[in-house]
């Protein structure tokens, strides 16, 4: 009876390439601090306008992969989790303020945070035959979160939508603060 009542284990579900892809895809989605920071990258891109709008989603995965390589190789990076939470705070504040710094400054800021996100993902990348599918799922999920942020950011074309997008930035910063303070 107890065996029948037990809940199924859902972690790392699926076998083969499809299972690996799904596991990788869900990996960033289940970390709220990752999710809000990725959404913030897309939202901020909207306020920064072209070319940042499309440059950040192209550059972020590449820099994240560089951070991932550091994690895989075991190169220590101090305060990774703090860096991830701080990325949500800083990027959320940037969205809330509708800040428009020079492109290079925005790229350096986002790139620095991408290193922290990549390092965390790299350390948890599973070895084996499914590694390719897992990493593809992870990167695609991250990219789709950026695109979701960009899509939601399109509401900023209207005055009320602009307020909503900036409020979303404030909410993202609040989530980051919750992680930084240990509340989440």
């Amino acid at each position: 009876m107890l065996a029948l009542l037990a809940a199924p284990a859902l972690a790392h579900s699926g076998e083969g390439g499809a299972g690996g892809f799904l596991s990788g895809f869900m990996h960033p989605v289940f970390g709220l601090d990752h999710v809000v920071a990725m959404l913030a990258v897309g939202l901020w891109g909207v306020f920064l306008g072209p070319p940042a709008l499309w440059l950040l989603p192209i550059v972020f995965p590449l820099v994240m992969a560089a951070g991932g390589v550091l994690g895989i190789l075991g190169v220590p990076l101090p305060a990774v989790e703090t860096g991830i939470a701080a990325s949500a705070v800083v990027l959320g504040v940037m969205v809330a303020l509708a800040a428009r710094p020079p492109l290079w400054a925005a790229a350096v800021l986002v790139g620095a945070f991408a290193i922290f996100h990549g390092h965390a993902h790299g350390k948890e990348l599973p070895d084996g035959a499914n590694a390719v599918a897992f990493s593809a799922g992870l990167v695609i999920a991250t990219g789709l979160l950026h695109l979701t942020g960009i899509a939601f950011g399109q509401f900023a074309r209207w005055p009320a939508g602009r307020i909503a997008v900036r409020a979303a930035g404030g909410a993202i910063a609040a989530v980051g603060l919750a992680y930084l303070s240990g509340l989440a």
Binding site: G17, G20, F21, W54, P57, I58, V59, P61, L62, M64, A65, A66, G68, V69, I72, L73, G74, H121, G122, L125, D127, A131, V132, A133, S135, A136, L138, V139, I140, G143
Partner: protein, 169 residues
């Protein structure tokens, strides 16, 4: 025979193969004014050469790292949207074709079945590259071109992560 052929077709669809072939196809198709015959022909030559080596009883080779390296470099080139010399494209295509063929030896007992399976894998590999090249060539709009670059960066990031993993462990 038909079963072996279909097995060969499906055997091509491994994540490592797809990363390399899609990145290569996008690279060859991106900004190409005419169909990149040299790159596609070099790829077909590589596929044929690799298949002949397999037929000559050369053992299955772990060409995964080569394919991941091609995927990473081609993906970066697509992401930064800088033209790559046609000779380099053709060389990469030949290498990729050979690596794909050597990585997909037929899982068949009889020689006719093995030939059918190897032919199926080669046709799937060739069709995939051709389709991706044509998609890349048709991406003329501003947002389509950005989409290609985003996909290139995703492929490069995925390949770099796995390449590092393979080299580290």
């Amino acid at each position: 025979m038909i079963g072996a052929f279909v097995d060969g077709l499906t055997q091509f669809f491994l994540p490592t193969h797809l990363l390399a072939v899609v990145a290569l196809g996008l690279l060859a198709g991106q900004d190409a004014k005419r169909f990149p015959v040299a790159a596609v022909a070099a790829y077909a030559f590589g596929l044929a050469a690799g298949s002949v080596l397999i037929a000559a009883a050369v053992r299955e080779q772990n060409t995964g790292p080569v394919l991941l390296a091609v995927a990473a470099l081609a993906g970066i080139a697509v992401a930064i949207a800088r033209p790559v010399p046609r000779a380099v494209q053709a060389l990469s295509a030949c290498l990729t074709g050979g690596a794909v063929a050597l990585n997909t030896p037929p899982q068949a007992i009889t020689i006719p079945s093995a030939v059918a399976a190897q032919t199926g894998a080669a046709i799937a590999a060739f069709a995939m590259l051709t389709i991706v090249v044509m998609i890349g060539m048709r991406a003329r709009g501003a947002w389509h071109r950005i989409g290609l670059r985003v996909v290139g960066s995703w492929i490069a990031a995925s390949a770099v992560l796995v390449l590092a993993l393979r080299l580290a462990r």
